[in-house]
């Protein structure tokens, strides 16, 4: 919090706009703008605004990393292990080095690299080549001779848990905890391939279960999902004596800059990271990655720019994935529905990485005095997992939200009535009310009640996500003497349209149109912006944008005040003019005001301050706001009990993200979250061959994604939920929109056929097996 005398009191709107808007007083730093009124009183913020880079995207003009060509640029390729576990005894790259057009050959896993002699998954990098053409690079890879000593391996999580299973790591080499707060904290025990348990608890679970009238329990399983960004992971590295410039398809330009500086011993001012178009990330492009380091090393060695683009097979094997999980959930409740205890035991596998936990949902979504969890990471000889849209909470919701429905049925309660009883969130209460009305919840019948072979059902599930903030987030606003305006930040647009939102924010402050604002982002030459992960971009970068614009405006008003013969505090910027508030006819155009500037431009850089109500928690550069983000989704499905095909006909998604900044872009993101959840529920599955450790569907046709034909009608409703926390009070939406979809569909499937599927994906074979029409486990 700012010190005494550095703040002033401001009254802020607070509450859900469609229910009741109250007011709350907050202390605001003196150099930050006054409280922003609700969206209804604003002209740019909160209005559906088409994205500014839309024209470039529909005409093919947007430059993605894969489109970047530099003079003298070489093409990089990576040689990858064909074996799931092997010792590299020798590697001979001499023929590759001699191949015409080859400029650089890098040994990544060779006997001369201490500690890097074992490759632990199919697709692990072994060597790399940079050559004048892709064809030459490919040919050179074929000339590299690697002597592998095959080692026993395990790719199946159940088998890997067996103490007799081949060890993926020894104690010295096994990765420790995950830096982003996943369950495997440093120092956790390692038994065979199992890291953990990471334990958490509150109250007295044994007492809680003893007090329960009803206990439900079950095992829930989720598959490995891959990110499948349409734009592959790509980097163009340009190592020069005066510094390193990297074009990279990344979710975090500022973070990659830090990683590069540290990895290559460079000062920050010699490292520049640029991304213009960014073709999707979903968590998999959060960091520099092994391919990023390889490209930079190739460029340094070859003394030329190197472009390295993963092909689709590499994407599927070694660019991250959502870990597969198994959880056992046990929930105790009283007859009135109130929960007495929750117990969660989980095992998940992120391959050779950690971070496969999912405890947050069970721990935090519902009021329950007694809780315990024991979570484990299981190492397998598979490509490393990483964060993916709503990590942890997505598999967590798969278990919890089905178990809550099972509990409702045991208690003979409606699933919504039970949630009204145990969910403390007034926001989700309103979301349930709106969603139930939209989907027509009163039509919901008893499970399996439809006669005939086509059976319909309705289901609901809820989402929970922390409102994350990146403290190290800044934004610059420049006003030129000719009246043109720029907003600058290293923040990247991964497809959410954050640049357009920044333009809306600055336009709102300066009384201009969003189209008047030129947005320059995706370049570390600009003030450090937040990452595009954790649904934190909007919450982190829009407050400093508004603050910077407001400070610039204060300077401009001082100039205009002299000309208008008024006090600066009596002036306002509205409709492209600077005017005297009490006498609007006394005014000048924005351009006339900027023409008064003594210098070519006015500029201010502002950074993200603490939330006005204080943070719940602060962890380095990251912080967690007091309130959570949520959402409730309803699904209507039709299940063909002859073919086992589940058709999702309609989804109603009611979400919240604080102050909605741009309803058009939010609708797009929510639809995307729902579709990724639907795809997870019904289709996607990374399949590894038990005998070779290879992925059998490393492509986009056998790794099945939901397409246009599988897309239901998706109704999106977004609440305006004001919490008086920052200069914009805006938060993210991407992840909360993904978490509830799969369990909502599962609950609808149960309602349709009266049989519950606890394993993902719900394929036709799984449906028919659940119905007893084909043998299970085929």
């Amino acid at each position: 919090m700012a010190a005494e005398g550095m703040t002033r009191a401001e009254k802020f709107p607070r509450g859900i706009a469609s229910v009741e808007l109250g007011e709350v007083e907050r202390q605001v730093p003196l150099d930050e703008p006054p409280a922003l009124p609700p969206n209804a009183a604003l002209s740019s913020i909160g209005k559906p605004t088409p994205r500014q880079n839309g024209r470039a995207k529909v005409t093919g003009a947007t430059r993605y990393t894969v489109d970047v060509t530099l003079p003298g640029m070489l093409h990089g390729r990576i040689l990858r292990s064909p074996l799931p576990n092997a010792e590299v005894r020798a590697i001979d790259v001499s023929a590759a080095q001699r191949y015409p057009g080859v400029r650089s050959v890098l040994v990544i896993a060779g006997p001369e690299h201490q500690g890097a002699v074992t490759v632990r998954y199919v697709g692990a990098p072994v060597a790399a080549v940079a050559a004048v053409s892709m064809a030459a690079a490919e040919e050179a890879l074929r000339l590299i001779r690697v002597d592998y000593k095959p080692l026993p391996f395990v790719v199946d999580m159940e088998k890997a848990r067996d103490p007799a299973a081949p060890p993926v790591f020894d104690k010295a080499s096994a990765p420790q905890g995950h830096p982003s707060g996943f369950p495997a904290a440093p120092g956790l025990p390692l038994n065979g391939n199992v890291r953990g348990p990471a334990r958490d608890s509150r109250g007295d679970p044994a007492r809680g279960f003893a007090e329960a009238d009803v206990i439900v329990e079950g095992d829930y399983r989720t598959q490995v999902q891959t990110h499948c960004c349409l734009e592959p992971h790509a980097i163009v590295a340009d190592w020069r004596t005066d510094g390193l410039t990297v074009h990279m398809s990344t979710q975090f330009t500022a973070g990659v800059r830090h990683e590069l500086a540290e990895a290559f011993g460079l000062p920050l001012n010699r490292v520049r990271v640029i991304v213009d178009g960014m073709g999707g990330g979903f968590g998999s492009k959060s960091a520099l990655g092994n391919y990023g380091r390889i490209a930079v090393n190739l460029s340094r060695q070859a003394q030329a720019p190197v472009r390295l683009v993963l092909d689709r097979q590499e994407e599927q094997m070694d660019s991250g994935n959502r870990p597969g999980t198994w959880q056992h959930l046990r929930i105790g409740a009283r007859r009135d529905g109130s929960l007495t205890a929750i117990s969660l035991t989980s095992y998940g596998t992120a391959g050779v990485a950690v971070g496969a936990g999912m405890g947050n949902m069970a721990q935090a979504l519902y009021t329950c005095p007694d809780f315990e969890s024991a979570q484990h990471d299981v190492f397998t000889n598979a490509g490393p997992g990483c964060a993916m849209r709503g990590p942890g909470n997505t598999p967590g919701a798969w278990g919890l939200e089905q178990a809550i429905d099972e509990l409702a049925e045991r208690l003979s309660m409606d699933p919504l009535t039970l949630r009204d009883r145990i969910d403390p969130s007034p926001v989700r209460r309103e979301e349930r009310r709106i969603g139930a009305e939209r989907i027509g919840w009163q039509r919901r019948h008893a499970p399996g009640a439809d006669s005939g072979s086509l059976k319909r059902g309705l289901g609901v599930a809820q989402s929970l996500w922390g409102a994350n903030i990146q403290i190290n987030s800044a934004c610059e606003v420049r006003v030129m003497r000719d009246g043109s305006v720029e907003v600058l930040s290293s923040v990247q647009d991964i497809g959410t349209g954050i640049g357009t939102v920044l333009a809306q924010v600055v336009a709102e402050v300066l009384g201009l149109q969003p189209a008047d604002i030129t947005v320059r982002i995706g370049d570390t030459e600009f003030p450090a912006g937040p990452p595009s992960y954790g649904s934190r971009t909007t919450a982190s970068v829009t407050p400093p944008a508004r603050t910077a614009a407001w400070r610039v405006l204060q300077s401009l008003l001082r100039e205009a005040a002299l000309a208008l013969n008024a006090a600066p505090e009596d002036l306002a910027a509205r409709g492209g003019r600077i005017l005297v508030r009490a006498e609007p006819s006394r005014s000048m155009s924005f351009g006339e005001a900027t023409a008064l500037l003594r210098t070519d431009r006015l500029a201010e850089i502002a950074s993200r301050s603490d939330d006005y109500g204080g943070f719940r928690r602060r962890m380095g550069d990251a912080a967690l706001a007091q309130q959570d983000l949520g959402g409730v989704q309803f699904a209507e499905v039709a299940v063909d009990t002859e073919t086992g095909i589940v058709r999702v006909e309609r989804v109603v998604a009611v979400q919240d993200c604080g102050r909605p900044m741009n309803p058009l872009l939010i609708e797009s993101q929510v639809q995307g979250g729902v579709l990724m959840g639907l795809s997870y529920a019904l289709f996607e599955d990374r399949i590894l061959d038990q005998h070779t450790g290879r992925m059998v569907n490393p492509n986009l046709e056998q790794y099945k994604l939901a397409g246009p034909r599988e897309t239901p009608t998706i109704d999106v409703v977004v609440l305006e939920n004001y919490q008086a926390q920052s200069a914009t009070d805006a938060y993210g939406i991407a992840e909360p929109a993904n978490i509830a979809t799969a369990p909502a569909i599962a609950n609808a499937v149960y309602n349709a056929i009266g049989v519950r599927l606890r394993s993902l994906p719900m394929t036709p074979a799984a449906i028919l097996a659940a119905l007893g029409k084909v043998p299970a486990g085929s």
Partner: protein, 202 residues
């Protein structure tokens, strides 16, 4: 090292080394046909061969290895990077361009096979700076997020609007049924294309 490999000699060798009787039958039939028709067929490659491609109304001369796909030729030597490669095997349709007005997967089309066909890419869709109605509607309806699948989507939807006067939502879904979008833009793509079809008619 140059192997002058003609289609005839390739087929003869295949036939000799293939065990399956039916394969030999098929191959023999083909050999007969090849012998009758293509005795003096010029042999292309493996070195680059000069070709001319009609792209966006302009004839472009370039040299391509016979194995180079149209997508690679557009993105590489022709510098038209609007066409995207995402799967490189015809599974996602991101690389869709028009060949004589018909949407094709340019990653599954060899550049030397295009011949005199007219190629239209996403860069060539706007006329004199005026967006095609589908492009304008994509922006207005936010039928794009990361935008990487968008050039392909735009080409398929524009082709539909050009040839179908009154498309239904089902028509649009059919037109984009081979397209993958990980951001999940399908609902807005359908809405935008239906809106564009109305503009096109007006």
């Amino acid at each position: 090292m140059q192997h002058e490999l003609s289609r005839r000699s390739f087929l003869q060798r295949s036939a000799l080394t293939t065990a399956g009787a039916s394969m030999i039958e098929v191959a023999s039939a083909l050999i007969g046909q090849a012998a009758a028709e293509t005795v003096d067929l010029p042999v292309a490659g493996p070195d680059p061969v000069p070709i001319a491609l009609m792209v966006n109304g302009e004839s472009r001369a370039l040299a391509v290895e016979p194995r180079m796909t149209l997508a690679e030729a557009l993105r590489g030597p022709l510098g038209l990077t609007g066409t995207k490669i995402a799967c490189d095997r015809g599974a996602c349709s991101a690389c869709t361009v028009w060949l004589d007005g018909v949407p094709v997967a340019s990653c599954m089309t060899l550049a030397i096979d295009v011949g005199a066909g007219a190629v239209t890419t996403v860069e060539g869709l706007a006329r004199n700076g005026e967006l095609h109605p589908v492009q304008a509607a994509f922006i207005e309806h936010d039928a794009l997020q990361c935008g990487f699948c968008t050039p392909g989507m735009v080409m398929s939807c524009a082709a539909l609007v050009e040839r179908t006067p009154h498309p239904t939502a089902e028509d649009v879904e059919a037109a984009i049924s081979g397209h993958l979008c990980r951001c999940g833009t399908y609902p807005h793509v359908v809405a935008a294309t239906l809106a564009a079809a109305k503009v096109e008619k007006a």
